[in-house]
């Protein structure tokens, strides 16, 4: 996908279908789609600062045990030292995206990719078994 906010809905439709094709159940799908959508939105808003037409790659791999989704961009990398978790008791208006990505999956990790951009990896253990497979958008 590219970095237009209007692309997010199409990415979610694609990911939901791809996860469904790998027998990932509705609740798991919802969590994985939410986490992935938030990371893509962060690429749009923060890595690219709202610039349109920039590349964001979402890759999906599944095994019997887990689902792995990777999100890559070529924008300004996330600075973990500046991240402050939102105070959920204070009804925050901002900063919920990364919180959602963290709590929706079992493991979230960040690295800088070969393009100097963001490389996020999401892992979620599967509630039920399914066939191996992978897709990319």
């Amino acid at each position: 996908m590219t970095s237009e906010p209007e692309q997010l809905a199409a990415m979610r439709v694609w990911l939901r279908r791809a996860l469904g094709a790998q027998d990932v159940g509705p609740e798991e799908r919802g969590r994985l789609v939410a986490a992935t959508s938030e990371l893509c939105a962060n690429s749009i808003r923060h890595a690219y600062g709202g610039r349109r037409g920039e590349p964001i790659t979402v890759s999906l791999r599944t095994s019997e045990d887990e689902v792995m989704i990777e999100v890559d961009d070529r924008g300004r990398p996330f600075d973990p030292s500046r991240y402050r978790p939102p105070d959920l008791d204070a009804a925050p208006e901002r900063g919920l995206g990364l919180h959602i990505a963290r709590v929706a999956v079992d493991h979230l990790s960040f690295d800088v990719n070969a393009h100097g951009g963001n490389h996020w990896t999401l892992l979620r253990r599967r509630a039920r078994t399914g066939s191996d497979g992978g897709e990319r958008r």
Binding site: E27, R45, L96
Partner: protein, 111 residues
């Protein structure tokens, strides 16, 4: 984003259609702010036709809640789809924003 407005004696019902995400958040925020500034501070947000809300959309809900409460009203949500409820639970907003199963119950709560 298409938003249907229905005025009842007790509240204004706002029913958006489609995902409430980064792409539409600013538009929805300004339309809800417009309602509050026009004195419509008792709001019901019917999310029956909203399959997904992202963090930008949740930010709109929180901002609207704060604005409405500051003006003496509030926002009540109803008819949440499963993914939307799950996001409200993950962010604990379900404890802060009033949620009702149906539009009728949300409107009745304003009577």
């Amino acid at each position: 984003m298409r938003i249907e407005l229905t005025r009842t004696p007790g509240a204004t019902v706002v029913a958006p259609e489609g995902d409430l995400d980064l792409a539409v958040a600013d538009d929805v925020r300004s339309r809800l702010t417009g309602l509050i500034e026009a004195g419509e501070v008792r709001l019901v947000l019917d999310l029956a036709a909203v399959p997904y809300v992202d963090s930008s959309g949740l930010g709109v809900l929180v901002a609207t809640m704060k604005r409405a409460r500051a003006a003496g009203g509030d926002i009540k949500l109803c008819a949440l789809q499963p993914d939307v409820r799950s996001l409200l639970e993950m962010t604990r907003l379900v404890k802060i924003i009033d949620v009702h199963p149906s539009r009728a119950e949300a409107v009745a709560s304003w009577q």
